[in-house]
């Protein structure tokens, strides 16, 4: 269903916001819960940490505000834009974590619990689901993003390509590599 772009008079915009931003904001306001759930679900399966996923989701929407002028006012476009921001945030998170782990390892300090550790459980025997989450979380961020967009957000290759800023062929290649890697890691589980 395509949403109306008028917003029903509920939206108050800044005087300097252009008309396109007004329309996008109206759409976002009308369907905020649906957009929020979509982004949250994606980020939850990127980081496997509920609190962190909530934080990143909120940050995604705050960042959207500053780029509303560049968003075309359609439901699909808005969702693509949100997932693109969310992907960048998740990738940034993994980059930060990588550096943090490298520094901690260099200084001989315990690296602390990661989201994957939390997903698996505190030393308990990992369940099959936890094994899968661990394997997904251990993928390189670019491969992880295509796996999550494909299997948890159920997007087409074209949509994924738009979000990731690459060609659909590249998405397929990346997904194929990720699947091979997951198979090796999960072994008999699949």
């Amino acid at each position: 269903m395509e949403a109306t772009l008028t917003g029903g008079g509920r939206i108050e915009m800044g005087r300097t916001a252009p008309p396109v931003a007004v329309a996008a904001t109206a759409l976002l306001d009308a369907e905020f819960d649906a957009f929020y759930a979509t982004v949250h679900r994606y980020l939850l399966h990127r980081v496997f940490d509920r609190e962190l996923a909530e934080e990143l989701t909120a940050e995604t929407f705050y960042r959207l505000v500053t780029s509303l002028r560049r968003v075309r006012a359609g439901r699909r476009e808005l969702q693509m834009w949100l997932l693109r921001i969310a992907t960048n945030l998740a990738n940034s998170h993994y980059r930060r974590m990588r550096w943090r782990r490298l520094l901690l390892a260099r200084w001989g300090l315990p690296r602390g619990a990661t989201a994957v550790d939390v997903a698996v459980g505190n030393g308990a025997t990992p369940t099959r689901a936890a094994q899968v989450r661990t394997a997904v979380a251990a993928l390189p961020p670019k491969e992880q993003s295509v796996v999550v967009l494909r299997y948890y957000s159920h997007l087409s290759h074209d949509d994924m390509a738009e979000i990731l800023g690459c060609q659909p062929e590249a998405v397929r290649t990346r997904l194929s590599r990720a699947i091979k890697r997951l198979r090796r890691r999960l072994g008999d589980a699949v």
Binding site: E12, R15, V65, V132, V147
Partner: protein
């Protein structure tokens, strides 16, 4: 070929977490977004941070340039235009050499016609000099320098004003007026009066040269008066010699300040040296700067630690 795995897809979906976002958190984010969208776009660009960053960069750059010696030297090097001086030199019939220098911003070399005119003018002056012409305009006394042979004692320069055939007036500093000039201008008598401390001050201006600028009126034996400019008040020669001896000592001890310095076409560095006498008087003398206070690269007057070195103008004209 690309590979998709429906079996793996089922496994992955089975590991999905229950994705129920916090309703309260979603509501808070929604409210916050509404607030942000009410904020004019220009305010969302964090311009204060951008402006602050710009000011920080400008401030750091300014400090780097103005607050460090290296920065100042770099600016001097980049922006100081070396103005070459242009000169015409020659020799008079009595063997004394002369030079006419043109310098300063925009100074251009003498054209052949100009050089010829200058030479003709100097030839005319030389002829007038030999004939005893000219008028004594000023007497300049300098203390000399102990390291220059023959210049240990008071060094006197007579500034003689000539009126040329075309009506133009020009002043020439001359260390050795012709015998005819000495007689006509009564130079020996005037200098005797000067050395005796005679004369009446008819004009006085404060220091920049010597201890000040004075016009002293001398009355010769035939009753005629001659006004002579000098940089020292009337006093017996012994007093001036004592003053100059102190200056020489100060110069030898390198206790002077160079206010400006420039290099002439022959490579000599001259400047305004300011001395402070033991009685507190300041004395300024335009003279050659001692070589031992010039930096090895020939571009600056060396300064004590913490003080700004004085740049030598026309430093490029090293011999």
């Amino acid at each position: 070929m690309y590979e998709e795995d429906t079996g793996l897809g089922r496994v992955l979906e089975s590991a999905a977490l229950p994705a129920a976002p916090s309703a309260a958190r979603a509501q808070a984010v929604h409210e916050r977004m509404r607030e942000l969208t009410r904020t004019p776009v220009r305010r969302q660009r964090r311009w204060p941070a951008v402006v602050a960053s710009g000011l920080l960069v400008i401030g750091a750059g300014t400090f780097g340039v103005a607050g460090t010696e290296t920065g100042r030297a770099l600016v001097r090097y980049l922006f100081t235009k070396i103005e070459p001086a242009h000169g015409v030199t020659g020799t008079q019939p009595d063997g004394s050499s002369w030079s006419v220098v043109r310098h300063g911003p925009g100074a251009e070399p003498f054209s052949p016609a100009e050089a010829q005119a200058v030479t003709a003018q100097m030839d005319e002056i030389a002829a007038t000099k030999q004939a005893g012409g000219g008028r004594l305009a000023q007497v300049i006394e300098s203390p000399g320098h102990p390291s220059i042979p023959g210049a240990e004692r008071i060094f006197t320069t007579y500034v003689i004003e000539y009126t040329l055939a075309d009506g133009q007036t020009t002043s020439i500093g001359d260390n050795a007026p012709s015998p005819a000039q000495r007689a006509n201008m009564r130079l020996d008598e005037i200098m005797r009066l000067h050395d005796a401390g005679a004369g009446e001050i008819v004009f006085q201006a404060p220091f920049p040269m010597g201890t000040g600028r004075y016009t002293i009126r001398f009355t010769s034996s035939d009753g005629q008066t001659v006004d002579v400019g000098t940089y020292y008040p009337p006093a017996p020669r012994a007093e001036r010699e004592a003053l100059f001896a102190e200056l020489r000592q100060l110069k030898q001890d390198r206790r002077f300040v160079v206010l400006n310095a420039s290099r002439d076409p022959e490579g000599r560095v001259s400047g305004m040296l300011r001395y402070t006498l033991s009685d507190g008087r300041s004395v300024g003398i335009a003279e050659e700067v001692p070589a031992n206070v010039i930096t090895p690269d020939g571009k600056y007057i060396a300064a004590p630690a913490g003080e700004e070195p004085v740049e030598i103008q026309n430093a490029a004209q090293q011999p």
